[in-house]
């Protein structure tokens, strides 16, 4: 395929992109193959240099690296450092990369317990789970468990055009209200919608399932007011803790709770 394409006469460069996965379920990479009707156009914007999950061709001359997953082994640390040296833009792609994700629940248990329970008697290497920004500088965060393909498409188009990439600053409640969904607090449930960054189109709450905060905190949230709301309604603090800890995305706010 041609390296340079044009849109209404204006030339643009395909993004030389690579995708790498670490400790994760690979569900965020899979989203790249979703939204099938726009997939050929989407791929037309990309020069895929390295993407093991779908292609046997592997080159190391990429500009943008999508990093999926968290880090939990030394060989992953080394692989990540190498990618950081090559990539002009390193993207923490998905909740595991941005915050550690559900994998972080592992950190509540000592390493010996993990190995004894799952691989008794076997020499297995594992480290406490870390998010990507604990190890290298991250240029762009795309949160979500999984990421929302429409948001990924929007960001890729911004990168091609060289325009500013932004995420919604407001909470999930805004998107939820726009769909006239019954508030889950009214149904007696704790929902993290009021404190979580929007951009998912409130997919969980519109399915009557509480938000577990996979996109991390919205900007300028009032955690103290949120906690007061939960207490005022007499809802379970154990349930609240389980939800806030689920994706490890609210770690900096957890001290406020006491």
């Amino acid at each position: 395929m041609e390296k340079t394409m044009t849109h209404k006469g204006v030339p643009f460069e395909r993004l030389k992109i690579a995708s790498f996965d670490f400790t994760c379920c690979e569900g965020c990479q899979l989203q790249l193959a979703n939204c099938e009707s726009s997939l050929p156009d989407f791929l037309g914007l990309l020069d895929v240099r390295n993407f093991r999950e779908i292609s046997s061709e592997r080159y190391d001359d990429y500009d943008i690296a999508l990093i999926e997953g968290s880090i939990s082994r030394q060989d992953e640390v080394e692989r990540l450092l190498k990618i950081r040296k090559q990539a002009k833009i390193l993207v923490a792609y998905g909740t595991c990369a941005c915050f550690g994700g559900v994998n972080s629940l592992k950190n509540r248990h000592p390493v010996e317990e993990l190995i004894d329970e799952v691989y008794p008697g076997m020499a297995i290497e594992t480290l406490p789970v870390r998010k990507i920004s604990d190890l290298v500088e991250v240029d762009l965060f795309i949160p979500g468990c999984p990421v929302d393909k429409r948001e990924v498409e929007r960001i890729v188009v911004s990168l091609v055009k060289g325009s500013l990439v932004t995420l919604p600053k407001y909470p999930v409640c805004v998107e939820c209200k726009a769909q006239l969904t019954t508030c889950l607090f009214e149904l007696g449930e704790i929902c993290l919608g009021p404190v979580t960054r929007a951009g998912c189109n409130a997919v969980c709450t519109s399915g009557k399932t509480p938000c577990l905060g996979c996109r991390g905190p919205a900007e300028e949230i009032n955690m103290a007011a949120f906690l007061a709301l939960v207490k005022e309604r007499g809802l379970s603090l154990d349930d609240l803790h389980e939800k806030l800890a689920f994706y490890n995305a609210f770690e900096p706010f957890l001290n406020h709770e006491a």
Partner: protein, 424 residues
Amino acid sequence: MKRDYAIAIRHLSRVEGHADIHITVKDGELVEARWAVVETPRFFEVMLKGISAERVPFLTSRICGICSISHALASIRALERAMEITPPLAAEQTRLLAMQGETLQSHALHLFFLMAPDFIGTSSVIPLMQSHPDLVRAGLQIKELGNEISSVSAGRCTHPVTLVIGGLSKAPDKQRLLQLRTMIQERKPALESACSFFSSLVMPDFSRETEFISLCNGSSYPSIGGRLISTDGVNRDENDYLLMTNEYTREFSTSKFTRLSRDSSVAGALARFNNNHALLHPKARETAEQLGLRPICHNPFMNTIAQLVECVHILEEAENLINSLLDMDLQEIKTPYAPKAGAATGAVEAPRGILYHSMETDAAGHVVKADCVIPTTQNNGNIHSDLRALARQALEEEKDDRETEKLCEMMVRSYDPCISCSVH
């Protein structure tokens, strides 16, 4: 032909997760053939300890990005059986529909994105968009349909939203079900054209007799729950899954191995077909006949064809499930429950084969003990043994190392391994 060579494939491409293939030949003799999974373990069984039953399906679905619905439903089934909860019929039908969508999506991904490049001789699906546009279009249409079925029935295709303990958090929208039925009808020709492409292919001639394990309920092609059976005559209760799996570790693999009556066994589309072909929709049975797939088939390359046959079945089955949901009022979708102590197994047929979740709860409904046995784990032993047999056959047929490498890669891909899932 070289008499000495070593094949060392690090992080095999076009499969989900990280695994290596090693083959060593000295003086024209096979010295070693190894299937080594090097994926990073995540320790889900330990993470699950202390988690409330209500939250469990949202955690276990994160075991796998491709078969998240199967994981959610295996946990839900285990916990509902442990806490003696019976979901309403509408929820059961909706769950079955969600399973159809997930399997269709997963099979389409494997058939068109992962396998088709091997048959055509390209490195990925991207060049096929130019060289085989009709095939790619058909593949995308089928994959999109699978995702749409899952979205309508489970709220989202990857990491479902509405599948909860007791039933559903929200019923599928009837208007969307109607649109979905039309979409299925409109996309049948795409699947037919894909079938004629695959019928033109010649599958590598390789067979090694083995044991095929799947669910069986005697009345419909298996999906959620049932007896555990094998082609060697094993027939057990769902709760007796440990007797089916006998997991053990190998020092070169972070993914475990299993065995039943022989050294290795197989789960997946071919296993389901071999055990349940009579329960396929007549159209799917006809497709199997046209594609040369007959039970009991021991050629692992034919797993790809069994998946295609299942796609034909799924389109018919999904249409029936939609019709039955449209006839219901969809008001009663969730059984209220009080958490309690208990233990049970939930087995489902994930796209890649039988998946077991075993859950034990305390009186408050928190998980005390969890165990998940993944289909790919149950295929590791067979992949490992097949590699040895295939490499030996390639030597006898005087294939060179490049040809052997390609053939071995393709054989492993035929199993559609889900490696990060197997190293949960």
